[in-house]
């Protein structure tokens, strides 16, 4: 399953990645599970996406919670709590 992952703000800076495409084979892949997979790749990712850190997610540009199941060809964005306005 091909997914486009985007990172914003402090998470992007910590990871050093703005955007990437990943290929993951997993039925019923939730946003939380995806985050764990991404975090497990290296120490930098583990720090940026660690579970005790507040990380929000959007799938195809709509905010979702961690249990949301992602589909093929989705765009998933990870970012800190927003601070607009």
């Amino acid at each position: 399953m091909k997914l486009t992952i985007r990172y914003f703000a402090s998470i992007r800076e910590q990871l050093g990645i703005q955007q990437e495409i990943v290929d993951i084979e997993m039925p019923e892949l939730s946003v939380d599970a995806l985050r764990s997979r991404l975090a497990s790749r290296d120490t930098r990712a583990a720090e940026a996406l660690r579970t005790d850190r507040l990380v929000r997610a959007a799938v195809n540009q709509a905010m979702v919670d961690g249990s949301f199941v992602v589909r093929e060809d989705s765009e998933i964005a990870f970012f800190p709590p927003v601070t607009g306005g």
Binding site: A62, F79, V82, T83, G84
Partner: protein, 189 residues
């Protein structure tokens, strides 16, 4: 500019619009009609500085509007304490506009309003300058006040913007989200 499909800005041929052409307008050109928005729904994300008067004037010009509430968010001038000289705002192009439109549509569903405009700056913004403008026009002020407050409360917790403080020495620090902003959304259900 993206206009909400069901309520387009009035055309100059609309009789209501031509009625106001002589009110408060200083144009001498014959047949000239001032730009106007009767009802209208607009969302904009921009790098350019906000011209508050230019954004609000067309909405006020409509004689049917009874109440117009504006909120302006300004970059606080903290003075020399934090040594902050500017903010830099990042956003998620595509999602930003979609998120703001979603909030606007929810406001329209909850309150009787005639016009809503949300304009948010991104990029570098100096102290004392506006970051965000929310304008709500309604027949009566209760709806205008409530809708405006709702839009700001939800924008602060849902719209994908992130602020960074830029210091005089060039260093930066990301602004942390405030728990009171999350609390503020609870009253809207």
């Amino acid at each position: 500019m993206k206009a909400y499909p069901d309520r387009d800005p009035m055309s100059p041929d609309d009789p209501s619009c031509s009625d106001i052409s002589h009110i408060g307008d200083h144009s001498d050109a014959p047949g000239h009609l001032p730009p106007c928005i009767a009802g209208g729904f607009e969302v904009r994300v921009q790098h350019q500085a906000l011209d508050i008067e230019a954004e609000v004037a067309p909405i006020i010009r409509n004689p049917n509007i009874g109440a117009v509430v504006n909120f302006i968010g300004v970059v606080r001038q903290c003075g020399d304490i934090d040594d902050v000289v500017a903010l830099e705002i990042e956003h998620y192009p595509g999602m930003t506009e979609q998120s703001l439109w979603g909030l606007l549509e929810e406001a329209i569903a909850r309150w009787q309003v005639d016009a809503v405009k949300i304009v948010h700056r991104v990029g570098r913004i100096a102290l004392g300058h506006p970051v965000v403008l929310v304008v709500v026009a309604a027949p009566h002020r209760a709806a205008a006040f409530d809708a405006c407050e709702f839009l700001m409360d939800l924008l602060k917790t849902q719209a994908p913007f992130w602020k960074k403080e830029i210091r005089r020495d060039g260093t930066c620090e990301w602004v942390e989200a405030k728990s009171r902003d999350d609390s503020a959304t609870e009253r809207w259900g």
